[in-house]
């Protein structure tokens, strides 16, 4: 019986914690369409799964309550029952239906988060290259020709395409309140689609274990209206110094550094490894400069040794 109460408490605490509004959990408190999509999938799955858990727990409680030895007479001999085709069919077919339902939800949502968010298709996305090195994040804005280290400013209500890659171990680029994570790897570029709808400051981090400095491998994200964002870019053009190759190499050395801002990007002298193994990039544009990326790759290899 202790078990049953423990379980009920657990179930109710999940329900209250997840739906409670006073201090929402980061993943369930989305500030952009991608995270909202994912939070929606999570809630659909939690409610569906709660029904299953409830069915199991109720059956379980009935069996334990009714058929315990102390409730039956001494001469009671349990019958031999092979099974029941009807019952077994029921608990095969209903789960199959649930899995089909969740598959539809999952596949649809996965397609949505792997593309420009709905309602943003007609806007030109802002492209930001996010490169990880032990244990820093380098953000290059090719359009604006600026680069930041360990912090990210983004305009709200504009689709953003992050181009992810790494100068070291696999890292995972993650801003929980804007959307789920994706890997940054040394031999290819991954594309992550996000957008912010509420101005504010968010936590961003590498979620994938990458060695001794992993715990502090974080960055700050600030989402702001377009005008404010343009003002920030202009300010940098006026004040920040130019990023040089030697300075970038120094930044790549393992360790933690503070936040930096530069004019120019490292893409000029150290292009991203865009050979596009995976399916996540935009096919044609990257294939066309395949030759360039090959050269970039060789340069990269040299750098490593």
């Amino acid at each position: 019986m202790k078990m049953k109460w423990a379980l009920l408490t657990i179930i109710f605490s999940i329900a209250t914690v997840l739906t409670g509004c006073d201090n929402p959990l980061a993943v369930l408190d989305p500030k952009g369409p991608v995270a909202a999509n994912q939070a929606n999938v999570i809630m659909i799955s939690i409610w569906t799964m709660l029904i299953i858990v409830l069915v199991v727990v109720i059956l379980y409680a009935i069996m334990l309550f009714k058929y315990r030895a102390s409730k039956t007479s001494d001469d009671y001999v349990p019958p031999h029952v092979e099974g029941s085709h009807v019952l077994e069919a029921i608990w095969t077919i209903i789960p199959i239906l649930i899995v089909i339902f969740l598959s539809v939800v999952s596949v649809r949502s996965t397609n949505e988060v792997e593309a420009t968010p709905k309602g943003y298709e007609d806007q030109e996305p802002l492209i930001i290259y996010a490169a990880s090195s032990n244990w820093k994040w380098h953000f290059s804005y090719p359009e604006e020709d600026i680069e930041t280290v360990n912090y990210l400013f983004i305009p709200t209500n504009r689709p953003i395409e992050f181009k992810l890659y790494s100068y070291g171990p696999i890292s995972s680029f993650w801003i929980p309140q804007l959307g789920g994570q994706k890997y940054a790897m040394s031999d290819m570029v991954n594309t992550l689609h996000l957008a912010a709808e509420t101005p504010g400051e968010y936590m961003g981090r590498n979620a994938n274990f990458s060695g001794a400095g992993f715990a502090e491998h974080t960055f700050n994200v600030k989402a702001m209206p377009e005008e404010e964002y343009t003002k920030w870019v202009d300010e940098i053009h006026g004040t920040a110094k130019k990023l040089t190759e030697s300075e970038f190499d120094k930044l790549l050395e393992p360790g933690h550094v503070g936040q930096y801002t530069f004019n120019g990007t490292h893409l000029d002298f150290r292009p991203a490894p865009e050979h596009n193994h995976g399916a996540s990039g935009k096919g044609e544009s990257e294939h066309s400069n395949h030759e360039d990326s090959k050269k970039a790759d060789e340069a990269e290899t040299e750098h490593q040794h």
């Binding site: 199991v56 092979e82 949502s109 171990p169 060695g211 193994h277």
Partner: protein, 649 residues
């Protein structure tokens, strides 16, 4: 002296120095103790050279218990470090080493040998066989596992522990990012133990297919035996992938090849794929036997036959097939795009269907039963709801787009502990308690066992449930610390409190073994639980030859039927029994493998070459050896049976 510098731990601490001293003192004490009590001869004759499946099983379980406490110490340290924000108990490097060894030890050197130990003891008895098909090979399997595990464990005091996570993702696990010999230990120790496991797989498939008692068709096998058959099929298909992956890793780290490295076209994704093509089936290798154990125990203590036998078998086969087509869900976030993720999302969720069938069949085995709450039954009953939570959160993780948010977080950590602890740990504890009287002829105390059970079950939930919540709040896994501002503090502290509960539970378990060994009444019957399958039809403790007469069987619960006016199991007269001889070669081979592994870890090529020759010499010895085993005469059988019948009267 320079030569010996390589054996120093590169990143030492008072805790490691303390352990070095403690380990040295313990080893010395054991050696002196065994010599003082003149037990070397006994150990050599009865244990080191044995090929008896029951003794090998006991040694597997002993080693597994030892490793449970090693992995448990890692776990407590991890929870203690993260109990409060900005804690300074461990630094980043030590924390990384500890969660790496926790994962490897618990999966490969605790769960696997515990399961293999139980399968060794029980399977031949359940099918009415005298031993496994290849008893000598079985001893080789054990000693390779054992010396592999020992090699892995000394990493912590000699040369440095592995620190790239139990998944050892490249390029983090390459020499470039993990310079110490730690990951060499990983590659080579697991390789040695893995070869042993692969041989176990072959051995048990042959045993179950070829050595069943007359009348026991496949569909009349007890459910535990079914689960072991399927498990070993998975082992034989999955472990070669690990062998290859580890061989490539070894070459990358020791010989400068570039299979997985960052430079020269190595592919980090290749490692992740190979690792999980083995790694996901591995999860089922440790969980399917648990399903078998629960089926036996639930049926025994509900006093009913297993509900839906056929669908139980079919669902297990379905799980084993599906286990090979879901591996990419471990890295949905690697960027394979919506199409691939969609497919793996669906295959993963599909596993919920056969697993659900099993849950409902267990529930309906309880239906109309007469349930007795013994300790093994309590673990089995606790398994059902807790594993259901593990299972449904697995379905949630299978939804690819949502997984982008769960991946690499404490939510995932909570999920796989909710699957593996009820799925494997509860099962081996249940099986251990259930089959204990068969092995030792006395029962573990039910009273102390229940204390252990409640501490473990409550402690488990208090430890791991908060992780679902901190995960959804954005706490990444494997972080050695976090700031107070994150707000993760209180729930992590709660986890630590739960971990202490688990610790107390396991302390009760040890105390129970001690107390029952000293005080529990001896000479219980050979069938103390009123059970259903063949292992309970022979004496406790089981004689060397298992059954004086090979039983004849015509149902999946033949022993139960024979107790209830069914056909007699044992017909005919005693005949001479042919048994295999003991051999010291497997033990020696294990030690040579240990030396070989140690030499490889430290790139000491001369030792490596000499020990390689030693390995081949052992194999050549086996090829040319003439050993036809020995025969137990009818008189000897009669005498043993008379004695044992007296004991079990």
């Amino acid at each position: 002296m320079d030569y010996f510098d390589r054996f120093a731990v590169p990143h030492s601490s008072p805790m490691i120095v303390g352990s070095q001293i403690a380990i040295a003192v313990t080893v010395l004490a054991i050696l002196v103790g065994v010599t003082y009590f003149k037990k070397w001869g006994y150990l050599w004759r009865e244990w080191f050279t044995t090929v008896d499946h029951k003794r090998i099983g006991i040694m597997y379980i002993l080693a597994a218990l030892l490793m449970l406490f090693r992995g448990g110490a890692d776990a407590i340290l991890m929870r203690a470090q993260t109990a409060i924000p900005d804690n300074g108990l461990l630094d980043g490097q030590h924390y990384n080493e500890i969660f790496t060894t926790h994962g490897v030890v618990m999966i490969l050197f605790m769960a696997m040998p515990f399961i293999i130990g139980l399968m060794n003891i029980v399977t031949p008895l359940q099918i009415g066989a005298r031993d496994v098909a290849f008893p000598r090979l079985n001893a080789v399997s054990f000693w390779l596992f054992f010396w592999g595990a020992m090699l892995f464990n000394i990493s912590f005091v000699v040369g440095g522990s592995p620190d790239a996570g139990w998944t050892a993702y490249f390029p983090l696990a390459s020499v470039e990012f993990s310079e110490s010999v730690g990951m060499n230990y990983y590659a080579i120790a697991i390789q040695i133990a893995g070869i042993g496991t692969l041989m176990t797989g072959i051995n048990f498939i042959v045993t179950i297919l070829k050595m069943r008692a007359p009348g026991m068709t496949l569909m009349k096998m007890p459910m535990f035996t079914w689960s072991i058959l399927i498990t070993n099929l998975i082992i034989v298909f999955a472990f070669p992938v690990l062998t290859v992956a580890l061989a490539l890793m070894t070459m990358d780290r020791l010989f400068g090849t570039n299979f997985f490295t960052m430079a020269n076209g190595g592919s980090d994704m290749l490692w992740a794929n190979l690792f999980w093509i083995w790694g996901h089936p591995e999860v089922y290798i440790v969980i399917l036997p648990a399903f078998g154990i629960y089926s036996e125990i639930i049926s025994t203590f509900a006093r009913r036959n297993l509900y839906g036998y056929k669908s139980m078998v079919v669902s297990m086969v379905a799980i084993s097939v599906l286990s090979f087509v879901v591996w990419a869900h471990h890295f949905f976030t690697m960027g394979h795009g919506a199409m691939v993720n969609g497919i793996f999302s669906i295959t993963t969720m599909a596993i919920a269907v056969p697993t659900g069938i099993k849950i409902f069949n267990w529930l309906f085995t309880l239906w109309k039963g007469k349930i007795e709450f013994t300790v093994p039954m309590l673990y089995s009953l606790a398994f059902i709801p807790i594993f259901t939570i593990g299972g449904v959160t697995g379905v949630m993780l299978a939804m690819a787009s949502a997984d982008y948010q769960y991946h690499n977080t404490m939510f995932l950590v909570a999920h796989f502990h909710y699957v593996l602890i009820p799925g494997t740990v509860f099962a081996v504890l249940a099986g251990f308690t259930y089959w204990w009287p068969k092995i030792f002829n006395f029962q573990l105390s039910e009273r102390i066992g229940k204390w252990a059970f409640w501490f473990i079950v409550v402690g488990f939930n208090v430890t791991f449930f908060p992780m679902f919540i901190t995960g959804l709040d954005g706490q990444a896994r494997r972080m050695y610390t976090y700031s107070e501002a994150t707000g993760y503090g209180p729930l992590n502290l709660l986890s630590f409190v739960g971990a202490l509960g688990l610790l107390i539970g396991f302390a009760f378990l040890v105390y129970n073994i001690y107390w029952s060994t000293r005080y529990a009444p001896r000479n219980v019957t050979s069938d103390p639980w009123n059970a259903r399958s063949l292992e309970w039809a022979t004496h406790s403790p089981v004689p060397e030859y298992n059954f004086a007469i090979v039983p004849e069987v015509d149902s999946s619960q033949a022993f139960w039927d024979s107790k209830n006016n069914g056909p007699a199991l044992f017909k005919g007269k005693y005949k001479e029994i042919h048994m295999p001889n003991n051999s010291g070669v497997p033990f020696v081979l294990g030690i040579i493998f240990f030396v070989w592994g140690f030499a490889m870890v430290f790139s000491m090529w001369i030792f490596a070459i000499i020990s390689t020759l030693g390995i081949f010499a052992c194999m050549a010895h086996r090829s040319f050896e003439k050993d036809h085993g020995h025969h137990i005469s009818v008189e000897e059988i009669e005498e043993t049976e008379k004695k044992l019948r007296g004991a079990n009267a």
